[in-house]
Each structure stands twice: as structure tokens, then as C-alpha cells.
Symmetry: C3
Subunit: 489 residues, 3 copies
């Protein structure tokens, strides 16, 4: 839908009020950080919204009540202000005499919340819908699913798209296509062409700041075996303090600056989005992130943009900003040391397992020892579990200090997946290749594996660990025991 501004007549009626309001608010508003446009164009709820409400408060009383608690209510922003449509909007419907759109898109919200939408639109979140043309789509459409739900796969509709966003379609009769809606995926592609769904995080119709700031909001998508950020947070000391002290955290305060308005604990929002004494709120969630922990091999978050010559905020600047958040509670030396620990885990994962795993998959593909089809061979699942599930868990655990995710949900499972599944499956493929006469291909692939397994960090597995390494380890253990365990042995 499109925000259709009020009729000129009604608009001029309220212009004076609006301008006065703007002028009154100016002194308190930083020019550098405009907030949602404060416009109070109505003395009272619009006649249109009153008509909507008269009926819907009977039909859907909870929506009405939620809205009644919202800031929108206080600002006389009612049903019609958000849901009005232009008759030529693709999803406009004629409803009780009004042109209405069911979907309120970021374009609509931007009428008042322009800065938030602009920030969001520049973020990685806004690209979440690109999955519709990606590998994961193959998983959901072909491997797990079938195009049996009006030409779409129900696995995508109920799964992927609910986080990533659907491409919302309007049926010929004006209804929203049930394969594409309801959908609150953060990268949703709306009928009006805009991208995103503010309601992914700001649940309608109260649009409560408490809700958006709590960790569960992000946990709508950021949880589970492949990106357990919510679980990681809950294990961390940050999460522990949150649950103990949430009542003291001023969660519903408009101004919510860490170190000023609250201090007991950070939520996801605190670190990734909310204001510090020096930093403004941002709706670009990657703004303070230095690594991307998503792909098989992690790289600094600006690497891709830099490589393609695209202007972007450097990872160093992003990290500086994140450290600014940390500093509310932690001293510099602790923060710096933490980042050394975190970086080292990402690099360990990258170097010991991710790059080798990727090289193994690449040589199999190059040597045509795998079919062209993804996920029809066991080693493809093995590798996917390693990086997409377990390797991410380890990295996320280190990023947010949840040791169980680094270890038992993470590196322990990565190691088992690599040594006990991936290497044997790789060798089995080579044996079959040799048996099938593809000796040269097998030899070249075996050379890749041999080079990997001969590295010092893998020597233990092949039984080639040098004696001096074993001895040094033994001595370190004995020395430790001598120092600390004499009385308990």
C-alpha cells in the first residue's frame, strides 16, 4: 500500500498545529539524529479510523486493545493512517467504502519513521529475501519439498520464508496469495515494491519497545541448530543478568541509553542497535559487527564490499563502535582481551576445519567425483552440518561468551564431523573412484586430503604426531599436576 496523505483541505487545517509541534520539539531533537517524525496532525482520531475501530473493536477486540496501549494511539495514529491505500496500489482492497491495504510496508511506516527505514534498508536484514533465488531455496523447494502448494513448496512457505521473507503476491480477486502471506519475514518483498517487514521485530498492534528490546524478539529467527544466538545469549552472563534484573531495566523508556537509563544487562538490541552515550540508535544491525559468522569460512564483515570496491564502514570502525557499547560495563583491557579470544576461535575454526573442508569439497567437484546435484550425496550433508550448523554454533558461542556452545554444541561436534564422518566419506568416494577407473581424479583428490592431514594440527589423527609434541604435552600436564593437584592425587 501507499501512504496517501490527507486531503489538502484537511491537511491545511492542521498545518499550523503541525508546524508548532515541530518547532516546539526542535530544541530537544538533535539534528544529527532525527527520530521518528513527530507530527500530531489531528486533534483527535481521524473519522476514518473511528469507523474502522467501531467495527474491529467488536470483531478483533485484542487488536483494538493492543493499539490502545501503543504510542500510535497517543499520537492519534489509527487504523486508517497506516492501512489506507491508493486505489491503484497492487494490494488495495475496497472495504466498507475505504481503500485499504492489509499489509503495512516499510514504505508506509517511513512516512513517519523515515530514518529507521533508511537504516534498515541499508542493512543485511533487508537482503534476507535474496534467499528466494539461492541454494537454500533448492533445499526447501526440491530436497525437502515439492512445488505442490499452488506452485510453491510448503517447506519454503512455512519455513525459510517466515524468517527471510516471501515475495508477496496479490491474487486476481485481490486477495493476498496464501503461499506468500501471512508472512513477517524481515526481507519480505511487498506488493508496493518495498523490502522488509517492520513487524518482523515490532509486533503489531502495540509496537511495544519492551517487546522489541527483549531477546525473544530476535529469537523469532536467531535460534536453533544453525544460528543459536538466542540460546547463546541465554547462557551468557549477559543473559543471566537480564533475566535476574529485567524489572530494573526501564525497558519501556523512550530514551534507553545504556549506562544512563539502564545498566543491569544488555539485550541483543543494546549491543547491536540501541544508543550508548556516544552512539545513536541504528536499525542497521550489522553496524557494530566485525566478523561475518554466517558463511563456511568467516571473513571480516567488510571483506566482500572491499573486494568489489564498494564503499562501506570498515570492520575496524564497526568494532570500535561495539567496544563503545562494551565500555559501559567493562574496562578496556577486558574488552581487548575478549576480542583476542573471540578472534582466535574464529581463526582456529577457519584454519583447522573450514578451509580444509571447503578444499575437500572443491576438489571433489572439480574432479567430478560428486554429481552436479547438491545434497544427493552424504558428504554434502556432512559438510553442510559442519559449517552451517556446528561451526556457526562454535563461532556464535565465542562471540557472545557461551562456553557450552563453543565446546559441546560447537568445536566438539565440528571435530567429530570432520574426522569421523567427512574424512572417511571422502576416502570412500576416492576408493569408489579408483574402483571405477577414475584413478587420476582420485589421486589428485587424495593429494588434497594428504596435504591437510599432514599438517601439524591434524597429525594426531593419522598417528604422526611428533614425539616431541607428545612429550611437551605430557610435561605440561605433569607440571600442572605437580603445581596444583598434589593433594588430590
Amino acid at each position: 500500500m501507499k501512504i496517501k496523505l490527507l486531503t489538502p483541505a484537511r491537511w491545511s487545517q492542521h498545518l499550523f498545529v503541525l508546524l508548532t509541534a515541530i518547532l516546539l520539539f526542535l530544541p530537544a531533537t538533535s539534528f544529527a539524529e532525527p527520530k521518528a517524525l513527530v507530527m500530531k496532525p489531528f486533534k483527535q482520531l481521524s473519522q476514518e479510523s473511528k469507523e474502522c475501530a467501531a467495527c474491529h473493536k467488536e470483531k478483533n477486540p485484542s487488536i483494538y486493545a493492543q493499539w490502545g496501549r501503543s504510542k500510535h494511539y497517543g499520537a492519534n495514529v489509527g487504523c486508517y493512517e497506516c492501512h489506507q491505500a491508493s486505489p491503484d496500489d497492487p494490494d488495495a482492497i475496497k472495504h466498507e467504502g475505504f481503500n485499504i491495504a492489509v499489509i503495512v510496508s516499510p514504505k508506509d511506516c517511513s512516512a513517519c519513521h523515515s530514518q529507521e527505514v533508511a537504516e534498515f534498508s541499508a542493512s543485511h536484514h533487508a537482503k534476507a529475501g535474496q534467499i528466494l533465488g539461492s541454494l537454500d531455496n533448492f533445499l526447501a523447494e526440491v530436497v525437502e519439498g515439492a512445488l505442490t502448494f499452488h506452485g510453491k513448496s510448503s517447506a519454503a512457505v512455512n519455513g525459510c520464508w517466515q524468517c527471510h521473507g516471501s515475495e508477496v503476491k496479490v491474487l486476481e480477486n485481490g486477495d493476498l496469495d496464501p503461499t506468500t502471506w501471512p508472512n513477517t519475514g524481515i526481507g519480505r518483498i511487498n506488493p508496493d515494491g518495498s523490502v522488509g517487514a517492520c513487524t518482523a521485530c515490532h509486533q503489531r498492534h502495540e509496537f511495544s519497545m519492551v517487546q522489541a528490546r527483549r531477546p525473544e524478539a530476535c529469537g523469532k529467527c536467531h535460534l536453533g541448530p544453525d544460528h543459536p544466538q538466542k540460546e547463546v545469549y541465554e547462557e551468557s552472563k549477559h543473559g543471566i543478568n537480564f533475566f535476574a534484573h529485567v524489572d530494573k531495566m526501564n525497558m519501556d523508556s523512550a530514551k534507553w541509553v545504556v549506562g544512563e537509563d539502564y545498566d543491569a544487562a544488555p539485550t541483543c538490541a543494546t549491543c547491536h542497535m540501541s544508543a550508548t552515550r556516544e552512539l545513536p540508535v541504528t536499525h542497521d544491525v550489522g553496524n557494530r559487527i566485525s566478523w561475518t559468522l554466517r558463511p563456511a569460512i568467516s571473513e571480516k564483515i567488510d571483506a566482500k564490499d572491499k573486494a568489489s570496491g564498494k564503499e562501506t564502514k570498515s570492520w575496524q570502525d564497526r568494532r570500535t563502535d561495539m567496544k563503545n557499547v562494551c565500555q559501559s560495563c567493562h574496562t578496556k583491557s577486558m574488552i581487548d582481551n575478549f576480542y583476542q579470544q573471540f578472534d582466535s576461535l574464529v581463526e582456529l575454526y577457519n584454519d583447522k576445519f573450514a578451509r580444509p573442508g571447503k578444499a575437500m569439497m572443491e576438489v571433489l567437484q572439480k574432479e567430478k567425483l560428486l554429481t552436479d546435484t547438491e545434497f544427493d550425496e552424504e558428504i554434502e550433508w556432512t559438510w553442510f552440518y559442519l559449517w552451517h550448523h556446528e561451526g556457526r554454533r562454535a563461532r556464535h558461542g565465542a562471540a557472545m561468551q557461551a562456553p557450552d556452545y563453543v565446546q559441546w554444541h560447537g568445536m566438539y561436534e565440528v571435530a567429530e564431523r570432520f574426522y569421523i564422518e567427512m574424512v572417511p566419506q571422502f576416502m570412500e568416494i576416492l576408493e569408489k573412484a579408483e574402483h571405477d577407473g577414475k584413478t587420476d581424479s582420485a589421486t589428485r583428490a587424495r593429494a588434497v586430503l594428504d596435504e591437510i592431514l599432514n599438517r601439524p594440527e591434524h597429525a594426531w589423527f593419522t598417528g604422526n604426531e611428533p614425539e616431541n609434541v607428545k612429550k611437551a604435552r605430557k610435561e605440561a600436564q605433569d607440571a600442572f599436576k605437580d603445581r596444583y593437584l598434589n593433594d588430590s592425587k
Copy 2:
């Protein structure tokens, strides 16, 4: 135990009060929906309960305090009113001069809460104890366990029975058999012959409505790898709103009608049990459920009853009632579209994986390519994981809109289980059969698998996907990229 009513003398003393109370309450009480019998037979706590309390408030002070906060306290329902027994009750014990039963059964509760017990008794919950004579019993008694705990399996005692319910036995000395009690399984079979344990959901001794209405109450059993309803709820937008706004949800209100008394979020109880403006409270939790998501192949919830000619509420009527709950917050088009999405996921799972998997297991059994014993062969575990764990997770995720459960905990794992474990294990069995000379059996079984894998939805796996299908997919992806990704490529 049996509720023994008061002595005639004491009863008549209070008859006038009781009748007056009933009459006073009549205008506010709907005849169609009787609540717990409101009887205030005592001016004060009975002498018997006073004696119980005098001692137990010292010995078990927290029970006493919990009861002190309960509605029971306010209604002068004390220890003795619930725990009194007839001397010939199977579990009656003589205790400090009173006939007492430790277990308060639904039969006892029904003295006041007759409607709730009647509804419960007609529900699927009341049949939970039937597992004692089922396959899961074989798992717990034979595969996982052994009959070494006074003739019972500790795996059943500490596991299955704690949710499903034990068949409570009284030892010769009058004590409750430790293999069967403590037990609060919802389908518990009590010494008095009644079925159920109200305390499964209404934890003693406060019997707080807040506790029973919270999602954790249901999470006593409905969680974990095989039926993660609690986790699914927590991921859903319903759960997100619950945790953000529980303080505004009036959780301890006697009247708790969605859209009247609260609106921020539904809990499990809201959708499955509690009142709407049109529907009464029900203790038959299946009353608004249209699919059964429990078995290997989902069917509509009335299918079994219909097939056996049993009168039952149709799935359509149940769905209509559930939609009535949804309507408090959602409009009709959204609800209808949601149900299309949900249905389509169940059907996808059924058609692509569940029916084929079942057919594969059936032909192996029929052709005697499996032993008669369950769970002694790998493919039996594989199939069980597929439907009982992963397939349910996908279905539950779709039912309550938790995309991670549909996808990463669900269909992704279903697909891997099917293609990478079940199909190869099936083929290995056939190879062994051929090797053992059972050529005909193997041929017939192979025909079943071939027919399955030749279906369009499985053609990708065998490399037989038609070129036009691949091409159409490629074109759709390219078109998507052209529409949306030009600037980001």
C-alpha cells in the same frame, strides 16, 4: 480415595447457607456452562483440617503456605476435605485417627469440579495411560530397560509414566508402590479406578491459575525432540509477546476471556482450553484441534472415530472453534491463509516422506526382510526418528508458526533422514536379501522403492529430474535475481 460427605448433622447445619449461596450465584452463572460447584458449607475450616494443618504446617510448611494462598483456603476447603478417605478405599491409610488417602484423584476433585473432570475424561489426555500396553512400553521395558525395579522398568517409571501416568498400586502394607508413585502423569490410573491426575497441570497445593495458564505448565510433557510444542511456542510471535507482556495479561483473573480480560498474547491455554467471548472453557484439549500431528501419517482428528462409526465433533467444527480464538487478534483472511499454509505443510510431509516411509517399512515386514522384533535393526530407528521426532517437529512448527522448527529442526532433518539414511539402509537390506537368496522378496521390495523414487518429487535424488523442471527452476531464480538483485550482484 472417596469423598466422604459430611455427617448428616453437620450438613443440615449448613444447608441454608449453601442454598442461599447457590441462589445468589445463579444470576451470574450460565446454565449452559456450570463452573466449579460453588458450595460454602463451612463457616470456617473444618475441625479435621485444622488438626491436619496444626501438624503439617510445622512438618511441611511450604504446603501449608501454598494452600494458604489458594482459592481452596478462601472457600474453607482444607486438607481433610480433599484427602479424606473411606476406610475401604484401596489406598486409605489410618493416620492420626483419620482415614486418609495420599492421592487426590479426579474422582475426588469432581465432587466440586464435576464439569472439568467430565470434560477431561472425554479427552485424549485421559487416554495417555494406554501407553502402558503399547509399543512405547516395549521401548522402555525391553529396549531401554529391564524389569529390575520390583518387576518394572525404571526407564518407564522415571520416563514414560511421569507424563503418561502409572497404574498406581497399593502395597500390602498400605504404602503406595514406589514403582508407581510419586506420579503425576496425566493419564494416571488411580487406586479408586478413576483416570487422570489434575495435579499434572494444576500443581499442588496452591492450584494457581497463573501456573496452569503459563506455557511451562504444558511444557512438563510437551517439549523435547519428539514433540517440542513448548519450544515451538517460545519461538512463535505468540511466545514473544507473552514473555514481553505477561505482566499485563491478568493471569490470575478468575474470568480470563481473551479480548476481554487480556489481549497481549495467547498462551497454550488460550487457544486450546480457555474462554473466548463465544466459547466456554474446556478441559478437553483436543476440542479445537483439526489435525492429529502425533502419528507417522497425520490425519484429520476425527478420522479414526468416523471410520469406526463413533460420534465425535468433526474436525471442521473444531477448526471453526480454533478460528474463533484466532479472531480475537487476527482477521479472517489472515486466519484462512494461515490454515492453508499449515495444511499444505502437513500434506507435503505426509505425501513426500511419511506415506513412502511407511510403505517401505511395510513391504520389508511383509517380505520378512526384517525380524519380528522392533528396534533391533537400524532402519527401524531411522524410520522412528523420521516420523516420531523430526516429522512431528516440522508439523508442530507449522501449526504454531515457528519457522526454525519447520525447517532446520524439521523438514531439513526429515529429508536427510529419508534420502541419506533410510533409502540406503533399505537398499542394503535388499542387497543382503539377494545375497541370501531371497530374490523374490527383494524384487518386490525394490519395486516399492522404485515406484517411490520415480515420483516427480524424488526425481532430483535419482538424477532423473526432467530438464524442463530444472530449466523452469533456473528461470524462476534468474527472474527473481533480475527483479531484485541487480544492484547487489
Copy 3:
């Protein structure tokens, strides 16, 4: 760092106040249970702490605010009182004219909290750092990791050590070694030689009792696939009541005696640490535990000490104390029966799976059918998953009444791991051994497996279940069905 007491001059100034305070508190303080030393040596915050605060309240405002809510603030215990150091402390740094240590160790805390530190030091928690010279170290340093982070493994640094504790090192420049700090592992080995980290549970700088008493505090480490105590608690009726009634639990009361100050639910602290009407608070968390559920084969918690002639509190006395906690809410017969159920599950796991599994691994090692290296062969992972992950889950589930952890996360997975993975892998090793000419070794190993599988509890798997056993089971099932299911069949 070392607590440096105040200068003699300032000390004498406050001696009178201190002595008066001590005398005043004497009547209310049990000599048998000294609490944290109540000393109020300052009329106001020390000059040193004032100087610290003047700067840090700007730099790290949240620390300042957290401390402002703490009891420390009320007792005039400021930054300097805890962070002061002697110039010769290994981790002392010169900071703005003061000798400061970043780490506040149990030794420092013991200046006021001597009893708590003494109890902690005698506990199993204090030994958590011994892992640094153990098998898990091999996992993190060699299998999962590599010594690439300044000679340490990032898997240990970010994983193991964050729960178990690092051996904190000071670099030559006086900084804390980033491989070893930040670290709040409970068995941390501090620069001053003391062991432990009070902040593992008492998060700085508020040191809130609410936080330490909540289950999330313990969930910093006690969660996940290998020791899901937090998840187990959350499923249990104890956890259900906690989340429903936490607001009534007086969580911030200094005196927090179950049955006096609260009664709605126990938290981890209630059962393992906090006071009952008869028992004092303890910081030795094993004090009321009767089984150790950690090792492959569970034994009574005093078994090792007894075997080595070490004086220790017997498991019976520990259980008696735990029962004293239970009694606040439960009657004796329920508690006793519960312990029978719990014990029987541990014994089932021990006898049916753990001892056999261990015997199988031992014979493989003895017969040199495994390499000397751990975790380079699949069966080593299989066995580790069985006891370290799944077997613990089952035992923990039984210990705290979470049936899903006993069954689906526990015994079900134990059984599958044993029959479908461990036994076949064992047999494969024997086949390979025979193929390699190690016939005698294979024969001896096979004898061990045969003996195990011929036991009655495994006979079902080999198809040797006696007919009378099958028949008895069938009859029991039929009898059950006759009793209860006639109308539903």
C-alpha cells in the same frame, strides 16, 4: 591481589564502631553459622574508592550503577576495598597512583566472606580447574584445537576454561594474558594462588542475591547436551512453579529460608546450597548430593574418598540433608519413594549400558584393537556420547524429575547408541582384527561381547528372548487392555 588492610591510624578510628556493631549483631548471629563478617569500618566511602569512582562512573557508568545497588555500597565497600593490591602481588598494576589488581580472587573476598570461601574451597567446584591436565584438555587442545593462540588452544580458552577456569597468567608488561583472561570459570587458578572465581555465580558489580539464586546462574555452565541441569530443571515441576511464582519468592531477602521466607518453588540454590529451617547455607554444592552422575559409571559420591581412606561426609548423611530440603513441601513417603525411583534409574543405566560399555572399551584397549590415541576411532566417540552426553541426561532427568530427559533425550538415545552404533562398531573392529590375523585378541574381545549380549536384559536384541518372557509381557499387556481399554478398542 591481596587485601591490604587500612592504615593503623584509620583503623583505630573505626574500631569502636566495629566492635559495637559486632556486639549488636551477636544475639542474632548463630555462633555455629557465622555469616559474612559484618564490619562497618567507614563512616563513609574511603577516599581511595571515591577517587576510583570519580573517573569510572564516567568511563564505565554501568559498573558504577550496579555497585550503587549492591550491599557493598551500603556497607561502604567500594572499588578500592576489593581491588587494592600489594605492590608485590603478581597481578598488581600501578593505576592513577594506586596499586590495583583487576582480578578480585576468593582470597580477596575471604577478607569478609571467609566462611563462604572456606566452604567453596572444600567443594568439588574448587577442583574444576583440574581439567587443565585431563582428557578433556586433549579434546580441546589436540582434537578440536591447536596451540595456535599464544601457545594455547582457542577451543580451550573460549570453551572449557570459561566454565572450568583458566590458570591466569600475567604478562611481562603486567597485563593479564589474553589466553587466560577474561575468565570466570569456577575453578580458576588466580595469580595470587587462590582457586576459584566468586564471580562465576555472583556476577559483578551488583552481586545480587536474586541473580545468584535464579536457575540461570547455574545455567552458565550446567546446561547443554552433556549436563542439561538447567533444561531439566525447567521441565520439572519445580521449574514450572518457579516461573509462575518467582515474584512471590522473596528472592532478594537476606534471610531466605525455604518454608519461612518463600515456599512457591525451589531453585537450584534452594536444594543444593540455601538454608532450610534446620540446615545452614553452604557453598559446598556437593554437600547434599548422594550420587555422582558425572562419570561413565555412577557411584555414591563418597565412594572415591572412602576407597582412599579420606574422611568425608557419607552419602547417606548428604541424602538426609537433601531430604530435609524436600520436606519443606513433601511428605516422607513421597520423598522416600522418589529416591527409590531415582536410584533405580541410575542402577539400570549403570548395569545395562555403562558397565557393559566400559568393559567393551577396556577389552579393546587391552587387546590392542584400538590405537593408543583417544578419539581417532569412531567407537571412542560413540562410547563418549553414550555416557558423557546421553547417559548423563537420563540420570540428571531422573534426579530432578524431568521425564523427557530420562526418556527421549536419555535412555532412548542411550539404547540406540549402544545397540545400533556401539555393538556393530565393536563387531566391525573384531572382523577387521580377524582379517588382520589377530584371531586370539578378537576371540577374547568377542567373548566379552557375547557374555554381555547373552544377559537377560539384552536377549531381545539377539533374538534369544525366552518364549516365557515374551509370553509374560504379552499377557501383562492383554490384562492391562482388558482392565482399561475395552471401550476404546
